[in-house]
């Protein structure tokens, strides 16, 4: 027996090592580690690799900022002028959007609609990846000590990125939406069809469970549905890239992610989501005609009669007729030269409505000045956290 092992020492060692790993593998598959504690070997590997990654990323960022902020300033004044023009045109557009938003809030209040608000985010730097073709994982430089927890949503100003999978002391592992084990509740904006965005091994993710008899067109926007309880409703996911008949009566809808997942540098982790009813304070009184018009949308509008012809006093126009500025796509009247732009609609009170709804916060800009003090439910922001305005 002894001579057998001595003669086949190499093969025996190989068999033992392989068996040990296969047994370890079988144990993990029986008890998936996703919801359990993080394995020690993962902690060790991340502890060894991440300081180097962090060091490289920080030095690269420092060098790039030094170059762009102090040396390479060509075209900055031209860009500044273009941005000023953009701000002017956006101010005009804001007036129209605020009127639309006020109207939407009134309707939501009537329906006792509860909205999800992104209350708190933490900005993080992407420092590494899994390095594997079959595993779409990134590592960020924020961990449990900054308030990061598993299953928190990770986004960029362009769209969603993924969810936090494992958390270490100062690092966290993020599962991208393109990974084939990922699933995100999604809604098609135009057709309001709902499905699940599933990552693929290669190429763009697929919006699954859309019936073959439905009509989906390429270019249609896809947003989060909120059904997965991870991503707040209304965050941009991407656009439909292609639609083709798939298996089992479902369409194969390929979606191009809105966020550039192949080159991520900075992301936002949503650390707090608040759910509350729409606050209509400050929106003005709701008229009975409004309520009636909203509850009975099928009541046709009466044709306008000229007061002179009917001989009656002019009536208030039906509430269902929206003002020109609130009709989507309607042109906003340009103010005359020297005239002040129209006064914006009254803002909601700062009693908890200062945060925009999740869909409005789809483009968070942490560096932007905050117009109003954000409302937080007596919670301290995590270290390095940023309250979304």
């Amino acid at each position: 027996m002894e001579s057998f092992f001595a003669r086949h020492k190499n093969a025996t060692v190989l068999a033992v090592v392989l068996m040990a790993q296969i047994l370890g593998l079988a144990t993990q598959i029986r008890r998936p580690a996703e919801n359990g504690p993080v394995r020690l070997i993962r902690k060790w590997a991340v502890a060894v690799i991440s300081p180097f990654e962090r060091g490289f990323v920080y030095s690269e960022r420092w060098a790039r900022h030094a170059w762009l902020d102090y040396f390479y300033l060509r075209g900055v004044s031209r860009e500044n002028a273009a941005l000023r023009e953009q701000i002017e045109s956006m101010r005009l557009a804001q007036v129209r959007i605020e009127q639309d938003a006020a109207q939407a809030r009134r309707i939501q209040a009537l329906l006792q609609f509860k909205e999800q608000y992104i209350s708190q985010t933490v900005a993080a730097q992407v420092i590494g990846s899994s390095g594997s073709e079959t595993s779409h994982i990134i590592y960020i430089d924020r961990g449990s000590s900054q308030g990061i927890e598993p299953n928190m949503a990770v986004i960029t100003p362009d769209g969603i990125v993924g969810k936090v999978l494992h958390v270490y002391a100062s690092t966290a592992q993020v599962l991208e939406i393109t990974d084939q084990t990922s699933g995100v509740g999604a809604t098609l904006v135009k057709s309001r069809l709902q499905g699940i965005l599933k990552g693929q091994l290669t190429g763009n993710p697929n919006l699954a469970y859309i019936m073959a008899d439905e009509s989906v067109s390429p270019g249609e926007d896809v947003i989060t549905s909120g059904g997965d309880r991870i991503f707040p409703k209304g965050l941009p996911i991407g656009k439909v890239a292609s639609v083709s008949p798939g298996k089992d009566l479902f369409l194969t809808v390929r979606v191009t992610p809105a966020a550039n997942l192949s080159r991520l540098e900075e992301v936002l982790v949503i650390t707090k989501i608040v759910e509350k009813e729409t606050d209509t304070a400050g929106l003005g009184p709701i008229r009975a005609a409004d309520i009636l018009a909203q509850r009975l949308p099928s009541v046709p509008d009466k044709p306008a009669e000229s007061p002179a012809k009917s001989g009656e006093t002019p009536r208030t126009p039906p509430a269902t007729i929206a003002p020109a500025a609130s009709v989507p796509g309607a042109a906003v009247p340009k103010p005359a030269a020297g005239a002040k732009p129209p006064a914006p609609a009254p803002k909601p009170a700062a009693s908890g409505n200062a945060n925009p709804p999740a869909n409005a916060a789809a483009k968070p800009k942490p560096a932007q000045p905050q117009p109003a003090k954000p409302a937080v439910e007596n919670s301290k922001p995590a270290t390095g956290g940023a309250e979304t305005p």
Binding site: I41, A45, V46, I49, S130, S135
Partner: protein, 172 residues
């Protein structure tokens, strides 16, 4: 191309300093994790596999080869969300076979190194695919075109990398 059979006495056996033994695999794993953040196409390369093959054919000791492959693979596994042991098993087998083959083949010439890396890349991917599909119950799609392209790129990079790593070898 010089792919010759040699006797055990004719084959050189090399050893490495502790710094190189620990530092080079760690550097390979670090680069494999760091570069894809900037260049996504880099994922097709497998630097830890190249390092595993290099140490295995240089040391020409099957037990050391499988041990090196096992450790590198496990560290690589730890950075993914997959069960730990998938890369570990694949690289253990590659390390063992590469060092066993290294005893019989003179893997000093670029041509023979190219073929070795090409073969071991495909073997590694096959083992990885089988484990992921049959043991880890993951759905993977095998694409010959992608795998052959990966093998070609890895072999080309490997030949250059081996020339660089040759500087750290010490005759045993």
């Amino acid at each position: 191309m010089n792919l010759t059979y040699t006797s055990r006495e004719q084959v050189e056996v090399y050893r490495f300093s502790w710094g190189v033994t620990v530092g080079v695999p760690l550097l390979a794993v670090f680069l494999q994790a760091f570069i894809p953040v900037r260049v996504a196409a880099f994922r097709i390369l497998d630097l830890p596999l190249l390092v595993t093959i290099f140490f295995a054919v240089s040391r020409r000791n099957p037990i050391t080869g499988l041990g090196t492959g096992c450790l590198i693979g496990l560290v690589q596994d730890a950075l993914t969300q997959h069960p730990i042991g998938v890369y570990g098993i694949a690289k253990t087998v590659v390390g063992f076979l590469a060092s066993s083959l290294g005893v019989k083949i003179d893997a000093e010439q670029p041509g023979s190194r190219f073929l070795l890396i090409y073969f071991f890349y495909l073997l590694h991917q096959t083992i990885y695919f089988i484990i992921m599909r049959d043991l880890a119950n993951e759905v993977l799609i095998w694409s010959w075109r992608h795998q052959l392209l990966g093998a070609l790129l890895d072999s080309l990079v490997g030949v250059v990398l081996f020339v660089f790593l040759d500087r750290f070898r010490q005759r045993a």
